[in-house]
C-alpha cells in the first residue's frame, strides 16, 4: 500500500556520515568505577533525592522522586554504595554543576524486586503515575516527561500516533541500530502507547537512508499482525526528524503557531521512548540505560548501551578517542551542545557523543555582515524569517523577535548551515531565548514582590487602624469616670486617657497616704483632710507606695 506523503518547506541535506557507526551492532558498555547520576534529567521540576551518603542502593532503585507532576523520577543503574549527593559537572553548555547522586557500583548488580504492574487493569492516571515514577522521558533529545504526553487529547481525540524513527541528524545512528535489533519490542511499546492514547493508527516514520531499520520494522509489524501499524519510509532531508516536520510529512497536518499536535489529534514519540514505555510497563524496568552513538574523531565509532551516569570520558575510552580531538559535542553536529569536560555524565538526553577535530569540523569562518540574501528563510523548516529574528536578537530587541515567533524556532541550524556570511544564527536565537526567559523570571519575581509589599503596607495600615480603634474604645470607656473625677472636658481621646490614668493614680495615692498617715501620726490625719494633693504626694514619697506607681502605667 502506498501512502501519500507530504513535505515541509526548507531543510538541508548535509552529509549523513552515518555508515561508520552502523558497521557493528550495539555493544553493552561495562559499568564505570563511578556513576554520576544527575537528578535533573527531564524538562520540569528537579527530582528530590531519596538516598543518603553511605546508603546501599540496588539496580533499578528510585534515587530521586519526581517533584510534582511535571517531573520524572531517576533510578540507580547498578547496585552499589552512594558516595555523595552533591553538585557535579553537568553535560550542559554552561559548564555549571547541579545536584547529582554519585554511586560506586559493587559489581553484584543486584536488582530491586520487580513488581509486575498490571497496566491493562490500571486506570489511565495510575499508568501515567507509574511511568513518571519509572523515569520515562522522551529519548529523542528533548527529555519531556512521557507520561504527560500519554493522555488522550483534550481539544480533539488523538487518532494518530507517530513513532519517530527518522533520525535525520548527521552522525547519529542510535535509533537506527535500536530499530534493527529491537523492532518487535519497539512496536509492542507503540501498541501500548496507542492504547493509552486511544489512537486508531500508528505511523512509524523512517528516513530512506536506513533501509535495514525499515526492513526490520516491517518484518516485526508483519509478525505482530497489527493492521493499524504502518511503517512509512520518508525522504531523507534534515530536519525530517523534528516532531512537527515528521507529522507534516506523514499526515499533512501543519501544526500552527501556539498550538500542539495533540490539538489536531496527533501525538509523536521517539522509537527509544516506545521501548522505554514497554520496559517500564511490561517488565517493571525503569529507565536506567540508553543507546548512545559515539562517532566523529574516534578509532571505533559505534553504538553503546550505556548506563545513565557513566562519565563521558569512560565512553570515549572504549571508542578510542583520537589525540587530535579539540572539542566534544553532545548531540549531532547541527544541534549538539559543546561539552565542558570529560567528567560530565551521560544523561537521558545523550543520544550521541561526537568528538570533533579541526579536520572533521573546520573552525568557523569569520562572521560577515548579513547581505539579506534570504537563503535562511528558504531553508527554515519552521517557516520563519531567520534574518528578522537575527537582526532583532542581535539588537537585543527581544519584543520584536518574539513578534517574529522566535519561540517557534526549533534551533535545527539549517539557517546557519546555508548562510553565505557564516553567521552563527542559532547562537543569536539561543541568546535571545535565554534572555527572554530570564526577563520573564525577573518579571514574575517583581510581581510577587509588589504583591507582598502591597500586602505588608495594607497590614501595617490595618494594624494602625486596629490600634486606633482600641485606643478610642478605651478612652471612651475611661472618659466618663475621668470627666467625673476631674471635671475636665475629654475632647481629645489621648488627653482623656491620661486624665483617667492620673485620676486613678490620684485616687490610689490618696488611699495610700490616708493609710500611711493613719499609722504614722494622728496629726497627719487632720492635715490629710485639709491639704489634699500636697499631702498625698508627701505621703506617697514617704512610704514608697510602690504598687500605685506601677498601676499608673
Amino acid at each position: 500500500m502506498l501512502r501519500k506523503l507530504f513535505s515541509f518547506n526548507g531543510g538541508v541535506k548535509p552529509d549523513p556520515n552515518k555508515s561508520a557507526s552502523t558497521r557493528e551492532p550495539i555493544a553493552r558498555l561495562p559499568l564505570p568505577p563511578q556513576l554520576v547520576i544527575p537528578l535533573h534529567q527531564n524538562i520540569g521540576g528537579t527530582p528530590r533525592p531519596l538516598v543518603r551518603v553511605g546508603e546501599r542502593v540496588r539496580h533499578g532503585q528510585r534515587i530521586g522522586a519526581a517533584d510534582g507532576n511535571v517531573s520524572s523520577a531517576v533510578h540507580a543503574p547498578a547496585s552499589g554504595i552512594v558516595m555523595a549527593v552533591e553538585p557535579r559537572l553537568m553535560p550542559h553548555a554552561s559548564g555549571l554543576s547541579a545536584m547529582a547522586v554519585v554511586i560506586e557500583p559493587d559489581g553484584q548488580d543486584e536488582h530491586v524486586e520487580r513488581e509486575p504492574f498490571d497496566w491493562k487493569a490500571a486506570s489511565a492516571d495510575e499508568v501515567r503515575d507509574y511511568l513518571r515514577d519509572a523515569g520515562v522521558v522522551g529519548l529523542g533529545g528533548a527529555v519531556f516527561p512521557s507520561h504527560l504526553k500519554l493522555s488522550p487529547g483534550r481539544a480533539m481525540a488523538t487518532h494518530t500516533l507517530v513513532i519517530n524513527g527518522a533520525e535525520c541528524e548527521p552522525f547519529i545512528t542510535c535509533d537506527d541500530m535500536l530499530m534493527r535489533s529491537e523492532a518487535h519490542d519497539i512496536l509492542h511499546g507503540a501498541q501500548i502507547m496507542k492504547r493509552l492514547l486511544g489512537a486508531r493508527q500508528v505511523l512509524v516514520g523512517i528516513e530512506d537512508n536506513k533501509p535495514e531499520a525499515a526492513a526490520a520494522m516491517r518484518a516485526a509489524a508483519a509478525a505482530l499482525g497489527d493492521p493499524s501499524i504502518e511503517i512509512v519510509v520518508v525522504p531523507t532531508r534534515y530536519p525530517a526528524g523534528g516532531a512537527k516536520q515528521l507529522i507534516r510529512v506523514l499526515t499533512g497536518i501543519e501544526v500552527p503557531h501556539g498550538s500542539r499536535s495533540t490539538d489536531y489529534g496527533v501525538q509523536c514519540f521517539n522509537v527509544a521512548t516506545a521501548l522505554a514505555v514497554l520496559n517500564a510497563l511490561e517488565r517493571g524496568e525503569p529507565l536506567v540505560r540508553r543507546i548512545v552513538t559515539v562517532a566523529g574523531n574516534v578509532e571505533r565509532p559505534r553504538n553503546f548501551d550505556v548506563a545513565i551516569g557513566t562519565p563521558i570520558g569512560f565512553v570515549f575510552q572504549h571508542a578510542g578517542l583520537k589525540p587530535d580531538t579539540d572539542k566534544l559535542i553532545m548531540g549531532g553536529p547541527m544541534m549538539g551542545i559543546p561539552l565542558p569536560d570529560m567528567d560530565a555524565p551521560v544523561v537521558k538526553a545523550t543520544n550521541c557523543l561526537l568528538a570533533s577535530s579541526p579536520a572533521l569540523f573546520p573552525p568557523p569562518q569569520p562572521e560577515l555582515p548579513c547581505i539579506r540574501c534570504g537563503e535562511c528563510a528558504r531553508a527554515c523548516p519552521a517557516d520563519l524569517q531567520p534574518f528578522e529574528l537575527y537582526w532583532h536578537s542581535r539588537a537585543r530587541n527581544f519584543g520584536r523577535a518574539q513578534e517574529y515567533h522566535l519561540f517557534d524556532c526549533i534551533e535545527c541550524g539549517c539557517c546557519a548551515y546555508v548562510c553565505p556570511s557564516h553567521i552563527p544564527l542559532v547562537d543569536y536565537y539561543r541568546y535571545a531565548k535565554s534572555e527572554i526567559w530570564a526577563r520573564e523570571r525577573d518579571k514574575d519575581a517583581a510581581d510577587s514582590a509588589r504583591e507582598r509589599f502591597e500586602f505588608r503596607n495594607w497590614r501595617a495600615e490595618r494594624e494602625r487602624e486596629e490600634k486606633a480603634a482600641k485606643l478610642a474604645a478605651r478612652s471612651a470607656a475611661a472618659a466618663r469616670p475621668a470627666a467625673a473625677a476631674t471635671g475636665a472636658e475629654a475632647d481629645d481621646p489621648k488627653k482623656a486617657l491620661i486624665e483617667a490614668a492620673l485620676a486613678r493614680a490620684r485616687a490610689q495615692k490618696d488611699a495610700a497616704a490616708a493609710r500611711a498617715t493613719d499609722e504614722l501620726a494622728p496629726a497627719g490625719g487632720q492635715q490629710a483632710g485639709t491639704g489634699g494633693l500636697q499631702q498625698a504626694q508627701a505621703g506617697g514619697e514617704l512610704v514608697q507606695a510602690a504598687p500605685s506607681d506601677k498601676q499608673v502605667e
Binding site: A446, A449, F453, R456
Partner: protein, 193 residues
C-alpha cells in the same frame, strides 16, 4: 432653514450625550501611567531612589517630581525602558542614588542572630521568618536584595550574597565579538585626557 438647524442641534445633543456617557462609563481608575512605570521598576522596594518604595517613585516620575535615573536595581536597562515609555532622553544612572550591583540576596548568619526582630520589621516584602528571641532566617526566593535589613541588625549578622548562576538560570552569551572595544577604550581615554 429651521429643519437644518434642528438637525444640527439634534446631532450636537446626541453626540454630546454620547461623549458625556462615555466619560462616565469609561473613566479610568487611578493613573495608568503610574502603573506602566511601576511595571518597569524592579519592585525591590529598597528606597534608594529617595521614595518609600517603587510605587511612590513611579508616582513621582509621573508627576514630574523625580528623574528617571534614580533606580540602581533597575539598572541601565531600566532607565532605557523608562526613557522609551516616557519619550524622554536616556541619561546614565545617577550615582547619588547608588550603583548597579549584581543581584544579591540577604543571608542571616544563624549562629550569630540574637532574635531581635529588627530585620523582620525592616523587610519590605516579608521575606524574613522568625520570632522574638528565636533565630531568624531569610526566604531567599522572596528576597529582593534591597539591603534594608542590613543596617538595623545589631549583631551585624546579615550579609548580602550574590545569586549564583545555576544550570536552569544560565544564559547563552551574546555571540557578537566586540572588536571595537579596544578602539573605544583608547578613544574614551583620549577624551578623559
Amino acid at each position: 432653514m429651521t429643519s437644518a438647524l434642528l438637525v444640527m442641534v439634534g446631532i450636537a445633543l446626541a453626540l454630546g450625550a454620547a461623549l458625556g456617557a462615555a466619560s462616565v462609563l469609561f473613566r479610568t481608575q487611578g493613573d495608568p501611567l503610574v502603573d506602566k512605570i511601576d511595571a518597569i521598576l524592579p519592585q525591590t522596594q529598597c528606597g534608594q531612589c529617595g521614595y518609600p518604595g517603587c510605587k511612590p517613585y513611579a508616582t513621582a516620575i509621573a508627576g514630574g517630581e523625580a528623574d528617571i535615573n534614580q533606580c540602581p536595581p533597575g539598572g541601565d536597562e531600566g532607565v532605557r525602558k523608562l526613557a522609551d515609555l516616557l519619550g524622554r532622553e536616556y541619561k546614565p544612572l545617577n550615582a547619588e542614588h547608588g550603583v548597579e550591583k549584581p543581584k544579591s540576596v540577604a543571608v542571616i548568619d544563624e549562629a550569630t542572630c540574637i532574635g531581635c526582630t529588627l530585620c523582620i520589621q525592616a523587610c519590605p516584602v516579608d521575606a524574613i521568618v522568625g520570632a522574638a528571641k528565636q533565630m531568624h532566617t531569610i526566604v531567599s526566593d522572596l528576597c529582593t536584595g534591597c539591603e534594608l535589613c542590613v543596617p538595623p541588625c545589631p549583631a551585624d549578622c546579615i550579609a548580602m550574597v550574590p545569586v549564583a548562576e545555576t544550570v536552569d538560570t544560565w544564559k547563552w552569551r551574546y555571540p557578537v565579538f566586540e572588536l571595537r572595544t579596544a578602539h573605544a577604550r583608547t578613544q574614551s581615554a583620549e577624551e578623559a585626557a
